[in-house]
């Protein structure tokens, strides 16, 4: 019994691991918008579940929203889908209707 307690003290699951892994831990899907030149904007989608086929999703996005886009490999964030134009609301509704995420898991950023 006491041994198990000792074991418990050895490993603290809540200890600070030093790395900021909150992004994946939270499970939030972040949708951001960025300004480009002029009145053009760029929408980025980050934090999608890993088991999703990003390519197929991108294809669906591109077809549905009639915009171009691509997948960016980021060393910190992993796969990030980029779309042309401000597609934030459209992405959100798409993800919700397709059952990929719930509304409280989607965070929309930007102006």
């Amino acid at each position: 019994m006491s041994e198990s307690i000792q074991n418990l003290s050895k490993y603290d699951p809540f200890a600070d691991t030093g790395e900021d892994s909150e992004l994946s831990v939270e499970g939030y899907i972040h949708i951001r918008v960025q300004q480009r030149n002029g009145r053009k904007t760029l929408t980025t989608l980050q934090g999608l579940p890993a088991d999703l086929d990003q390519k197929r999703l991108l294809k669906a996005f591109k077809k549905d929203f009639a915009c171009n886009g691509n997948i960016v490999e980021d060393e910190e964030m992993g796969h990030v889908i980029q779309l042309q134009g401000d597609q934030r609301i459209k992405i959100q509704t798409f993800l919700i209707t397709e059952g990929i995420a719930t509304k409280d898991k989607i965070k929309i950023h930007g102006f």
């Binding site: 600070d16 939270e26 972040h30 960025q34 300004q35 760029l42 980025t44 960016v72 930007g110 102006f111």
Partner: protein, 460 residues
């Protein structure tokens, strides 16, 4: 934020009204029969801005039904039509212990309504009737709502009770209103109710009326003289007066006994007891705290419980009379365009001071949300790269306030942000609650500039 302004105004209006009201019952209590006083007080206590609106709404819908009754009575030749609903009141009263009080309440409501309409439409020629018969319209008018309620609810009793409750609230309102120019707005509401009452959609119109009456009331409070208001709303209030007159005639014709009872109630305090005995109900069913279900075996209604809980809250928190957290004001951000590609947030420091946050924190948030960068110039202004309109910045600031300033528990903005072990905690100074807030993280920022410029920057 501009969005808050109407709310603040509404709350403020509510406060004003409240003050008036609380004054009014005291003035009235000695001259009016005492039974009317307790309900009035409870209603006053009940009333936060929200509740007040609610009650008003009800009142209005009742009025509309009253007007409908008036119209109906006119067509059918009064006595028969009016007599039908009236007797229904008596057995109902017998059932309810508190019913007697409520009836008297209704009486007073009627009286006041009449007075008001008199005041509003000075032109009304046939106002020579004594107060007692004039008082009758209220019950009569109120009755027709019972069938309506029954139709809506399968449970007729519930409907009746609810109505009664609202009636009482109505009394309180009226009493409060009487000495003030507010009388006109009320009459006005009644007048608008008249056309509305024709069709059954009282609910639909009640909303409209609510808005309207609120507006008008504020107007009145603003100090427009009673006469001025009268002049403005003369036509409408005249209509209301007409409706009342019709009702009066009708009611005069019918049920002498009921009228006598009403007269008694008007006459003195003791009459209440008599009336109660006559109705076979337990007199004094009304509890000292205005709990109308006290001593009766009926169920309390939602409205009554709501009133009770607000009363208790008010008693225990005398300093919180506003019924809600005090709204704090914040300046609008001054957004200027520096060049074609840069935006300046001029009053950043002032803004931060009002929110009691460090500018660094806000800047970090702004940059993370907007996905840009920037700097602070010599005059403590924030220069943001990119074109942004004031509205867009306001949006982001709103989000910041919701996330990092307002207390989730009590909605107060009196909070401080403290950092403990790499975690930010938002501590509320008004309610003492503390919650952790997520640190500001800059997400993925796509490359938007030219690649050659990027490379050059990286190479340096």
């Amino acid at each position: 934020m501009p969005k808050d302004d109407p709310e603040v105004a509404a709350a403020f209006a509510g406060d004003k009204k409240k003050k008036k009201k609380s004054k009014a019952p005291k003035d009235e209590a000695p001259e009016e029969a005492s039974p009317a006083a307790p309900p009035a007080e409870t209603a006053v206590d009940e009333d936060t801005a929200a509740l007040f609106e609610d009650l008003k709404k009800k009142k209005k819908s009742k009025k509309s039904s009253a007007a409908a009754a008036a119209a109906a009575g006119d067509n059918d030749e009064a006595p028969a039509a009016a007599a039908a609903p009236a007797p229904a009141e008596v057995p109902e009263a017998a059932d309810d212990a508190g019913a007697v009080d409520e009836e008297t309440a209704a009486v007073f409501a009627g009286a006041k309504k009449k007075k008001k309409s008199k005041a509003a439409a000075a032109a009304a020629p046939v106002d020579d009737e004594p107060p007692a018969p004039a008082a009758a319209p209220a019950p009569v008018a109120a009755e027709p709502e019972a069938p309506a309620a029954a139709a809506d609810d399968a449970d007729m009793f519930a409907g009746l009770k609810k109505k009664k409750k609202s009636k009482k609230a109505f009394v309180a309102d009226d009493e409060a209103a009487e000495p003030e120019p507010e009388a006109e707005p009320e009459a006005d509401a009644g007048a608008t109710a008249a056309p509305a009452g024709d069709d059954d959609a009282a609910a639909m119109f009640s909303d409209l009326k609510k808005k309207k009456s609120k507006k008008v009331t504020i107007e009145g409070l603003d100090g427009s003289a009673a006469d001025g208001a009268e002049g403005a709303e003369g036509a409408e209030s005249f209509d209301a007066a007409m409706g009342d007159k019709k009702k009066k005639k009708k009611k005069k014709a019918d049920m002498a006994a009921f009228e006598a009872l009403l007269k008694d109630d008007e006459g003195g305090d003791g009459a209440l007891g008599e009336a109660g005995d006559a109705d076979g109900a337990a007199a004094g069913g009304e509890g000292p705290a205005g709990e109308t279900w006290h001593g009766s075996n009926r169920d309390y209604t939602y409205q009554e419980l709501l009133g009770r809980v607000f009363k208790i809250i008010r008693e225990n928190n005398p300093d919180r009379v506003h019924g809600g957290p005090t709204k704090y004001s914040i300046v609008a951000p001054q957004i200027l365009r520096e060049s074609s590609k840069k935006t300046v947030f001029a009053n950043l420091v002032d803004f931060c001071r009002r929110m009691r946050r460090t500018p660094d924190h806000l800047i970090q948030f702004l940059f993370a949300e907007l996905g840009t960068s920037g700097s602070i110039d010599g005059n403590q202004r924030l220069i943001i790269k990119g074109k942004f309109q004031q509205k867009q910045i306001e949006n982001v600031l709103k989000r910041y306030i919701v996330e990092y300033v307002t207390c989730k528990t009590c909605k107060s903005a009196e909070t401080v942000l403290v950092k403990e072990n790499r975690l930010f905690f938002l501590q509320c100074e008004s309610c003492g609650s503390s919650r952790s807030v997520s640190a500001i993280k800059t997400g993925f920022v796509a490359q938007t500039g030219r690649r050659s410029a990027q490379r050059a920057a990286a190479g340096q």
